[in-house]
């Protein structure tokens, strides 16, 4: 699509200094732009019989600007991980478009796709699951450099040590270890070092700190923050923990059953949530204020099956504000405040939000 596409990847990203200049040039253009992403899977019933279509992601669009962090929160099964994988083209989305640094990824194949992905790295939840247990830490971090033939053997070795240092692990102590000789937090740091080895412009983190103890989690979050500042990284940060997502994100998207129900600047979404689902999620967070959660009744029931999502608004079966219109009409995203978009027929306005927060409005539960 763009002239950069034809440039061999090794030369497209010269080390160190060339990266920022390229980023300044792209300042106003989104780094990643997803439009109407749809991902569906065929559900199999006993014996392999076709059992309907799981609508995992249903028409999701978003942009990530250079240096920006977009957080995505949602419950299990909301499709947030599927969305991340659709961005990576692993597997490819059923329809929709993903433009990354000016290239349409959904049309790229083979080496061209691999080259494009080089700039888009990911960190998954389980660090041990993503590190080869037989390899030493140094080889694990060198691997992406070797795979993309970056530098010489010696320079790669040196780079691996720099990266270990960057993530706060002493190369002298850790370079020769195997993953099993690391704690969970250390293993996650190794996974991060490997992810940033090729100086990507986008890091996709899917529950990357969820399994860590709170003190280690804080260390890794600070590391993400430092990498953002030092390498001007962009993040797509996925987690179910709202406070965690708020901590790292410029903008936050709330996902429910395969759709974004609310997107906006972090502060705005948390202080003035417009969607009843966001409100319910916020009310469920245990707070360090004693008894804070007990006063408010939280969301009843569980998300319906994505095989047969409710008509109209997908949240209506659990929504305290649902009316007839919600079953008939799919709510379209509307910008109600600056950059703050909500897909709801009856969004929470200031006076109502307190009322619905305490769940006095008792209407329907499925």
């Amino acid at each position: 699509m763009s002239p950069e596409a034809s440039v061999p990847p090794e030369k497209a990203v010269p080390p160190e200094k060339a990266v920022p200049t390229e980023k300044t040039r792209d300042e106003k253009k989104p780094l990643l732009s997803a439009r109407d992403l749809v991902q569906e899977f065929v559900a199999r019933e006993a014996g392999g019989a076709r059992g309907g279509v799981v609508q995992a992601v249903s028409g999701v669009s978003f942009d990530i600007m250079p240096g920006e962090t977009l957080g995505i929160v949602g419950e299990t099964g909301s499709g947030k991980s599927t969305l991340a994988r659709a961005v990576l083209q692993a597997p490819r989305p059923k329809s929709g478009s993903v433009v990354f640094r000016g290239q349409e990824l959904t049309r790229l194949h083979g080496h061209a796709l691999l080259a494009a992905r080089r700039d888009m790295q990911f960190v998954w939840q389980d660090p041990f699951g993503s590190l080869d247990p037989k390899w030493r830490v140094r080889s694990i971090i060198e691997e992406p450099l070797t795979a993309h033939s970056v530098g010489t053997r010696d320079s790669r070795r040196k780079r691996a040590e720099e990266l270990l240092d960057l993530v706060g692990l002493d190369p002298a102590r850790y370079a020769k270890r195997h993953p099993r000789e690391l704690s969970g937090g250390q293993a996650q740091r190794v996974a991060i070092a490997r992810a940033v080895a090729l100086e990507p412009s986008l890091l996709i983190c899917d529950e990357a700190v969820s399994s860590l103890d709170v003190l280690i989690q804080a260390q890794v979050l600070n590391l993400f923050e430092r990498l953002r500042r030092e390498l001007s990284l962009s993040y797509l940060f996925i987690a179910h923990d709202l406070a965690l997502v708020k901590q790292v994100s410029d903008r936050v998207a709330v996902m429910y059953l395969g759709k974004f129900c609310e997107v906006g600047p972090g502060e705005s979404v948390y202080k003035r949530p417009l969607h009843p689902y966001t409100r319910a999620l916020l009310d469920s967070i245990p707070s360090t204020e004693p008894g804070a959660v007990r006063a408010t009744a939280t969301l009843r029931g569980e998300p319906p099956s994505p095989v047969n999502p409710p008509s109209g608004c997908r949240f209506r079966t659990r929504c305290p504000r649902a009316a007839d219109r919600c079953a008939q009409e799919v709510p379209q995203p509307r910008e109600l405040a600056s950059g703050h978009v909500v897909a709801c027929h009856f969004p929470l306005t200031e006076p109502d939000s307190a009322e619905s927060g305490s769940e006095k409005v008792k209407t329907k539960t499925s």
Binding site: T76, V214, A243, Q247, E267, P290, L299
Partner: protein, 336 residues
């Protein structure tokens, strides 16, 4: 089953509980002299990082540790000493007087057995009831843990249930004999925040309705603040601070031990502006086979002085109901 009430109204009294494992010729002190009491019908939260000994201590009380574990000290449930009982004797208490729920419901359930059958089995292990009665009781239990359409769910396999539903089934099994003490070990950690709130509220409702004491083990101080009456914070096998939740958290909370403070500060919360660094403590908990002479937290503590490395501070009740083990506690519960 006729317990001799030794002293007071405490349901569970744990005194100087120690658990050690031998590993490669070294002694690993997983639990190192822990004492606390749980009043009937109250909620105690035991908070700590992985490896702090919070789970091992509770498993020792339940008699669920492997044979190699050296357990000493005392744990009395309604006056009956549990430590040192044979497995057969313990089995009488486990399930009927006390029960435990674990983190991963999928691993507590048999995947090849219908949910209802697993509950009736739990009932019939402890009580002589007919199959039909056990079935009725099981459906009643499913209703008790707020599972919609219990008659239908009774016949479903674990894989047909969501994570939250599975945890409810596990709780129903644990409640089969109406225990007086329920220990929930990270029972909501694997669940979504909305489901977590539902399960925690369910546990508290059941606790009130059944007059049951609840110990919940968690790494999440937020959970402790929201749901517990009493909070115990563990570090490297020891209790480092214990107080009523109301005293520790919230406006005017007075956290004293610096480790508790560090845990509290490291939690991302909604009021903190984005992209700010979280206050962290460097390093990791000590190797349990090589515990330092002084305070175990001293190597990571910014306020550590010479006396901290020389001698371990004892857990002492410095204020009514508030125990802490620190030579240089936080003033006014302030930051580290």
């Amino acid at each position: 089953m006729n317990p001799v009430i030794s002293n007071g109204s405490a349901l569970l009294e744990v005194e100087d509980l120690r658990v050690a494992f031998a590993s490669g010729g070294r002694e690993i002190r997983a639990v190192d002299g822990v004492s606390y009491t749980v009043e009937a019908g109250s909620t105690l939260a035991i908070i700590g990082e992985s490896g702090s000994g919070k789970t091992v201590g509770c498993r020792a009380i339940m008699g669920l540790l492997p044979e190699g574990a050296a357990i000493s000290g005392s744990a009395r449930l309604r006056g009956t000493e549990l430590i040192g009982l044979s497995d057969t004797q313990l089995r009488k208490h486990r399930g009927s007087d006390m029960a435990m729920v674990f983190q991963d419901p999928a691993r507590s359930l048999n995947p090849t057995m219908r949910a209802g059958k697993q509950i009736t089995e739990a009932i019939r292990t402890h009580r002589k009831v007919s199959r039909g009665d056990a079935r009725d009781q099981a459906i009643e239990l499913l209703r008790l843990v707020r599972i919609p359409a219990p008659e239908r769910r009774f016949h479903e396999y674990p894989h047909q249930l969501s994570g939250g539903m599975r945890q409810r089934v596990v709780i129903a099994m644990a409640l089969a004999c109406r225990p007086k003490l329920l220990i929930a070990d990270e029972a909501t950690t694997a669940l979504d925040v909305t489901t977590q709130a539902q399960i925690m509220e369910l546990l508290l409702e059941l606790q009130r309705d059944l007059d049951m004491a609840l110990i919940f083990i968690s790494h999440d101080l937020g959970l402790a603040a929201s749901y517990a009456d009493e909070v115990v914070v563990m570090y490297a096998g020891k209790i480092v601070e214990q107080a009523p939740a109301k005293r520790l958290f919230g406006t005017g909370g007075t956290v004293k031990m610096r480790y508790t403070r560090a845990l509290l500060d490291a939690i991302p919360h909604l009021e903190r502006p984005a992209h700010t660094d979280l206050p962290v403590v460097a390093g990791r908990p000590p190797d349990p086979s090589m515990l330092p002479v002084g305070c175990s937290f001293a190597p990571r503590c910014r306020s550590a002085a010479d006396d901290c490395t020389a001698k371990a501070p004892a857990l002492t009740e410095h204020a009514p109901g508030h125990r802490w083990a620190c030579w240089h506690p936080c003033e006014n519960g302030g930051p580290v």
